[in-house]
Every structure is written in C-alpha cells, then in structure tokens.
C-alpha cells in the first residue's frame, strides 16, 4: 500500500505521512536527516483515565512493569537489547496516553521497533517483577508525599476534579492500592485497554517514510484485539466560590502555591484565545505578567508561572509559585490583583501581539528535533488537528482578537472562584 504524503492542498511544512493499517493502528511518519537517529513514539489511548474503578495507579504500575519481559523475551534480554544500543526507553502515563518513547541510531531502527512492539502487544508481567516495581512505586509515592510542589498540585487537582474524577486522581495511586495490586490486575488492564485500534505509531528521523511505514506494518499487522470502549470523562463542576487549603509541611524551607481553575476542552473554538491569554499571563519571557510582578518587581519567588492544560475534557489552568513562607500571603494577593486586572482590562494590544509573535516564531524550535516533531504529531493525532496543523497554526493564532482573549480571561480566571492550595512551612 502506498503511503499518502499529500494533504488536501499543496503546502510546505512537516507534511507527515499518515496511514491507518487494516487493524486500526495509525502510522505517522516524517523523514529528517539532521542526525543519524530515529525517534519512535508509540502512544496507546490508555492513560490514567482507564484505571479501574477504585484502583487508581494501576496504569502507572503497568507502565513500570510492561517492559520487564514479554512472552518471548525475558527482562534481562530486553535490558541488554536496549542498553547495548545506548537507548533509554521512556514509558510515561498521562491522563489519556500510555506512551513508549525512545531515540535510537538509524541503524538500530528495525530491531528496536520490533522490540517495542513486542512489549506493547505481549508483556509477560512476571510476578517477581511486579513485586519489585511495586516497591519502587511506593517509594516514589513516599517521595511525592515529602514534596511540597507535588502535594500542592495534587491537592489542587483533587479539589478541582472531585468525586473520583480521573483528572483529580493521583496518577501513581496510593500506597494501599499499589500494595493490593497483583499481576492479574495488570494483565486484565492490558487485555481490556491495549489494542491496535488505540495505538498511534509515530516515526521521525533518518529513515525513509515508506520503509518506516512498512516496519510498523510488519510489527503490528498481526495484532488483533477487541476495540476498547471509549472511556467517558465527565465535565468537572464549576466552583462557585473561592476555596483555600493549607497542607502543612513544617519540615520544609519553602512553600509552594498552586492556584487554579478548570477551563475548556482542547477542541473548544476559544482554545487559541485561552492559549494567548495564558501566555501573556504567566508564560511570556520569565512568567508573563505574574513573573514581572512577583519575581522581577517584588522579588518574592524564584519561579512563578501559569500553565494551561486544555485536554479531552475541560483541563486546568494552574498558577504555580515557590515562595518563602513569609511571602505566601503577599504572593497570593499579587496573583489575585493580576487576575482582577486581567479580567477588568484584558490584554493590551502590545501584549497580544508579543505573545502571538512568540508562539508563532517558536515553532521552528519546537520542530527542530526528531523527538519534538514526534511529540507534535502525537498531539495532532489525539486531538484530531489535521496533518497540516503546523501550517495552519500561525493563521489560527493570528485570527484571535483582543476581545476574544479578554473574554477568555473573564471566563477563566476569576479570583473569587479560585482554588488555592499552599503546601509547606506555613500555618494559616
């Protein structure tokens, strides 16, 4: 089968190849020749949202265990195959994706892809490996418990997304739950949620696109598994009032503030206005308006910024700051004031123009490396943005008006409905 590299119209840009194989696997490929290396990014739509009811952390433990042996290869053979080629296999779990990502030398592409395919399709999940990885995950949870930044953010997310909402759960789960998990839980999750119909294989680098497509087909063509049901993700409740919680950690030197809201879905038409608004608020240069005020003028924090994570469901906008305990109240008051100003007056024309130019101009950097391109293509795929998204993106950002960013600010960042968490050596 020929690979379709032509989009709906002739254009420059990445122009990746895309093809859905007969069993549902989506292949995305782009040949580059900057280094004799290839980035492989395999993403299964089985992130932490598919954790079984009452067992958050199952997907995370699966991610720690899935590459510790397959039905045909023991764990030490896999370790040797990767290490001998200088490859670090990164296995990550986000809310929606379970991803295997690595970069290998071009000469190693075929055997490495085959190995990753084996890991995804046929993990053995040996009992002894599960036991060791449970110990690692429990240690990681204990480390998180001692980290003010993690405690602040996780507490915030649990408040913004309550009642067991998948965005509000700890991705690693709790110690009790991890201790109770068995090989059968992991195997059950894998059987229920891993299937060719939910796999996107992105290959970027020094390999011919047709050859890359054929390699993906060779590895995955024989995989058959039922199509998993699409997990439902409810919209979170909209907070009606301001909430404030302190997580005392008196053994720490610095306090972390997490201050946030729920916002919009990624496919909301106002996404680009939100993106620009957030960039000016807490990203541009050293943290946008927030960085200007709290770090540069008030000298209160080493870091302060805001992050917008519009997702399949309504994602959060989270402002984070690390401050001395003595400055917590002042820093929160400054955030309140900046948000109130933003809601009242909106961005200036200059701010909008600067953020727009920055976001458009930064695309060549984002797409400079193979791994960067692969990540971009996975984002295109999960949100259905289209193969020409890199070409259309400047126009999408250019079309946003000041009024639209002002509307986004009024809608998203109301201090009277903020949820504020302080973790650290601070007592209210």
């Amino acid at each position: 089968m020929a690979v379709n590299t032509s989009g709906p119209r002739a254009r420059a840009g990445l122009a990746p190849a895309r093809e859905r194989l007969d069993n549902g696997v989506v292949f995305l490929g782009k040949q580059t020749q900057t280094t004799p290396a290839v980035a492989i990014n395999l993403a299964v739509r089985a992130g932490s949202i598919v954790d079984p009811p009452g067992a958050p952390g199952t997907t995370w433990l699966l991610s720690r265990t899935i590459d510790r042996g397959t039905l045909t290869q023991p764990a030490n053979a896999i370790a040797e195959a990767l290490d001998s080629r200088g490859i670090t296999l990164s296995i990550t779990v986000s809310r929606h994706l379970f991803s295997l990502v690595c970069t290998c030398l071009a000469e190693d592409f075929d055997p490495v892809l085959a190995l990753l395919g084996d890991i995804i399709m046929a993990p053995a999940l040996p009992e002894p490996e599960v036991a060791i990885r449970k110990g690692e995950v429990i240690t990681a949870i204990r480390q998180d418990d001692d980290n003010p930044g993690v405690r602040a953010t996780e507490t915030l997310m649990a408040m913004l997304y309550p009642d067991g909402h998948p965005y509000g759960r700890r991705t690693k789960g709790s110690i009790d739950i991890v201790e109770s998990l068995t090989r059968d839980h992991l195997a059950g999750l894998h059987a229920a949620r891993f299937a060719p119909s939910v796999l996107t294989a992105v290959i970027v680098g020094d390999v011919d696109t047709t050859r890359a497509r054929d390699a993906v087909a060779r590895v995955f063509d024989g995989w058959r598994a039922p199509v998993p049901s699409a997990p439902a993700v409810a919209s979170p409740p909209v907070p009606r009032e301001r909430r404030r919680v302190v997580v005392p950690m008196m053994n720490k030197a610095q306090a972390d503030i997490a201050y946030g809201f729920t916002t919009i879905r990624r496919n909301d038409p106002s996404y680009y206005a939100y993106w620009l608004m957030n960039n000016a608020l807490g990203q541009y240069s050293i943290g946008g308006r927030l960085g200007d005020r709290i770090r540069e003028r008030q000298g209160m924090a080493y870091y302060v910024s805001s992050a917008l994570d519009a997702n399949i469901a309504e994602g959060p906008l989270v402002i984070r700051a690390g401050v001395s305990p003595a400055n917590v109240d002042r820093a929160i008051a400054s955030i309140d004031e900046e948000l109130a100003l933003l809601r009242r007056d909106g961005l200036t024309a200059k701010e909008l123009d600067e953020s727009r130019r920055y976001l458009i101009g930064s695309m060549p950097r984002a797409l400079e490396t193979n791994a960067g391109i692969a990540n971009f293509l996975q984002t295109e795929e999960i949100f259905g943005l289209g193969l020409d998204y890199d070409v259309r993106l400047p126009d999408l950002l250019s079309a946003v008006t000041l009024d639209e960013t002002h509307a986004a600010a009024r809608q998203a960042v109301d201090p009277d409905r903020a949820t504020v968490v302080i973790a650290g050596p601070y007592e209210s």
């Binding site: 290396a37 200088g86 670090t88 970069t103 003010p148 080493y302 101009g361 060549p364």
Partner: protein, 441 residues
C-alpha cells in the same frame, strides 16, 4: 546532517575574545552562547554565591537596553534565552530564528560591558535567590549532595555550593556584585559561540561590530588551592524529617584533561549507564542502565528504587558520585553494603570486554543524540573551551574509542579506594503528624 567533525571556525579578536562558529543549516535557527571563565570556584569567603547572583543581575538592563525592555527582544523571534552558573563557568544563551542573530550579539555585547546593577534590583534579586536556595533545601537528595560535596573537599573552592551559603547571600552588597562583574566579564575571559543557519563570514563581521570595541580587562590571576589527597574515608549523616532515605558515595575524580577521565567515563557507564558529556541536555535524559552492575545489584534486588552515577567534565579534579534511593522499608546500611561490594569488585577485577564494548556503543549513541539541536552543539563547544579546550570535545569520540580494559582497570584501582571516598546518608526522621486538608484525598 550534524556531525561531530563539522568544521568549527575558531578566531580571537584583538581584545582577547575567543569566537567559535559552526554553520548548521538543517533548521532556520541560530544559537548564541557567551561563556565566562568564572564560577563558584572563583569565590572567596563572604562571597559564596556571587557568581550565580551576578548571572541573575546580568538579565536586568544595560546602558542601552532599558530594564523594562529586556524581555521581548528575543521572544519576538520566537526565541528562548537563559543562563546558568556552575563551579567553573557562567554562561548565557539565546536560540531563535536566524534573523535574530544581530539582536543576540547585541544583547551579549551589552551583557559583557554595560550591565547596570541598580541597587533596587540587587535587593530584589537577593530574595529571589534565597527563595531558590530554600527551594533546593526542600529536596533531601539535593541537600545531601550539597553537604557531601562540602565534606569531600576541605580546601578547594569546589566545596561550597554554587548558589552560596545563606549568610553570604544575606550580607553581600551591590558593590561586591558589581566589582565581581567588572573583574570577570571582560572579553579576554570569555568565549562566544555561534551555531546555526548563518553565513559565517557575515556573522564574524557582526561579532567584530558588537564586541571589537570592548576593551580587554586586566588578566585574571587565579591562585587555586589544590585539594590535598584524601587520606581516609569520610562520613556524613543527615537526619531531618522526611519520607525517604538517600545514599551517596563520592570519590575524588580527575578533571577532563587527565588520562583517567575517559576510562572513568566508561566505568561509570558500566556501573550506572552512559550519560554522555552534555551537562545541558543529556543529563536530563536517564541513561540506559537496566543491565548495569549497580542497577542489577541494587534496583533489581529491590534494595533501591533508583541508582545513578555522576562524572562531569570539570577543569579541576571534582567528584565521581554514585547515588541511590533506598526502597521504602530498606535500610541504608544494606544499600551501602551492596553498592560498595560492586565497587570493590570492579576495583579488584576491572570490567569485561563485553562491558567495554557496550559502554562504548552507549557513549557513541549518546554523543549522536547530544548533537540533535544547535543549542546542544553550541553548548558543548563553549563548555569544553571554557573548562579546557574545544579540541577535547572534538576528540572525545576518538578518546572513548581508544580506552582499553587496562585503562579502565587502572582508573578503578586508582580512584575507587576506601581512602578516597566520602559516604553520605540522608536517614529521615519520622514526619510529625500533620492534619491532612479536609475533604481532600
């Protein structure tokens, strides 16, 4: 295609500024780094942290870039900018679309000659840096690393942390900062690196335009105290509230120019996986380590949840540090015993031929991965020129390829001795019961 052998043009202006330039036309981007041979090893008593504080001050306006216009220049080209300070060096960078080259060079020339150090900005930055220090103290692993380094060195200024000690940060004055800036930020103490989609001849003309008029400064006399040979094992026990136990074992290790450095790099790969040589990039990506000796001895046996090694290229002899995070419920004594057993074995018996071959393959791949962006390439050129010579970086693949089993064995015998090591424990005290926030899981 990026290759290690791509030509690097090297020139020196009349004022002593070294310039390294490499054309890379894969993407319409350019990266500029300006490196200064000044780091925390140059700091004396009462001034620890001054190098890093100066780095912060050098983003706060110059004679020709008003304070409120610092941000936005590079961003208008979609660019990023940053800087960092460590023991041997301070550096600043911009990476943006190629048409920003003129602005990048302008900014770096201003940074070299015309920073303002307004007293209000110095005061404002004092609290920012103390906040940075406190943020680091929140992390017990980082705290242990700082204390371990201070214990391993008793004479050489590598002993104090780059961020400085708190009392110095509280008392340092604007004049201290500005005097330090004027002493070290001179063209004859700097290297300018340009990598990207630029015309080399034109770029060098622009460099001359912006930097050629900056007067050289007095040559800097450095009188470093050599660290005396360690004559016995040192131990450090940190006990603070926490949830997790950490172990670190540090050996005095050679600087980049020593014949043992590359054999030790191979040994580190055998023990914990190859990291490459790029402090800026590759140390952020975990090494391939599942088959390494320490991973198998500690993580695969369930004693530790994490193990790592650190051997960084430095001008003077620094440390080769092995770190482990104890698995919840495991004792630090057990982790330490297992780790030292591995090190003792490699000290007595060296490594095997397959291990040598694998370590070389890992490093070869890592060097390729390190060169995937112009920012990374520019970092490497400037980093090595600042701590030694760029030639050492360009020759690294050959130096790695030439390492023999006996080289590794000799390095292991020389360095992995009991007398040469410092062992640090972070053994947590129970965290006092603190109320969980209401209604939150």
């Amino acid at each position: 295609m990026h290759t290690a052998s791509a030509a690097v043009r090297e020139t020196t202006l009349d004022n002593g500024l070294k310039v390294l330039l490499r054309e890379e036309h894969a993407a319409p981007l350019a990266s500029v780094w300006c490196w200064y041979k000044v780091g925390s090893k140059d700091e004396g008593p009462g001034l620890t942290g001054v190098s890093h504080w100066c780095e912060h001050m050098n983003f706060k306006g110059t004679a020709h870039i008003p304070r409120d216009q610092v941000k936005g220049i590079i961003e208008q080209y979609g660019g990023s900018w940053n800087g960092y300070t460590w023991i041997d060096q301070t550096t600043y960078l911009e990476t943006a679309t190629r048409d920003a080259l003129d602005r990048m060079l302008f900014i770096e020339s201003e940074r070299m000659a015309s920073c303002l150090y307004h007293p209000d900005d110095c005061e404002s930055e004092r609290t920012v840096i103390i906040s940075e220090l406190q943020g680091g103290e929140n992390d017990p692993d980082q705290l242990l690393d700082q204390e371990l380094t201070a214990t391993a060195f008793k004479a050489h200024p590598y002993r104090h942390p780059t961020i400085g000690w708190l009392s110095d940060l509280q008392t340092m004055t604007r004049d201290d900062l500005y005097g330090y800036y004027r002493r070290y930020y001179i063209p004859n103490n700097a290297t300018l690196v340009i990598v990207g989609d630029v015309d080399g001849d034109e770029a060098l003309r622009q460099v001359d335009h912006y930097f050629g008029g900056i007067a050289p400064g007095p040559s800097i006399a450095r009188r470093a105290t050599a660290e005396p040979e360690q004559s016995g094992e040192r131990r450090l026990l940190l006990r603070k509230e926490g949830t997790t136990a950490y172990l670190k074992v540090a050996y005095h290790a050679p600087g980049i120019a020593h014949p043992h450095f590359f054999p030790l790099l191979i040994l580190d790969a055998v023990l914990t996986g190859a990291k490459g040589l790029n402090l800026w990039a590759s140390f952020r990506v975990p090494p391939p380590q599942r088959s390494t000796r320490l991973y198998r001895a500690l993580v695969e046996r369930g004693l530790a949840s994490y193990v790592s090694g650190s051997l960084l290229p430095t001008a003077d002899p620094f440390l080769f540090t092995l770190s482990a995070t104890a698995t919840d419920g495991e004792r630090l004594s057990s982790v330490e015993a297992a780790l030292l057993e591995v090190l003792d074995d490699v000290r007595r018996n060296g490594i095997t031929q397959p291990e040598l071959a694998k370590a070389k393959a890992q490093l070869k791949a890592r060097l390729v991965f390190d060169g995937d962006s112009i920012t990374n390439i520019a970092h490497q050129l400037g980093y090595f020129e600042t701590i030694a010579t760029v030639g050492l970086f360009l020759n690294a693949p050959a130096a790695i390829a030439a390492v023999t089993l006996e080289d590794v064995a000799a390095a292991a015998r020389s360095i992995l001795t009991q007398e040469n090591r410092t062992i640090g424990w972070f053994d947590p005290l129970p965290v006092r019961d603190e109320p969980r926030p209401n209604g939150v899981a």
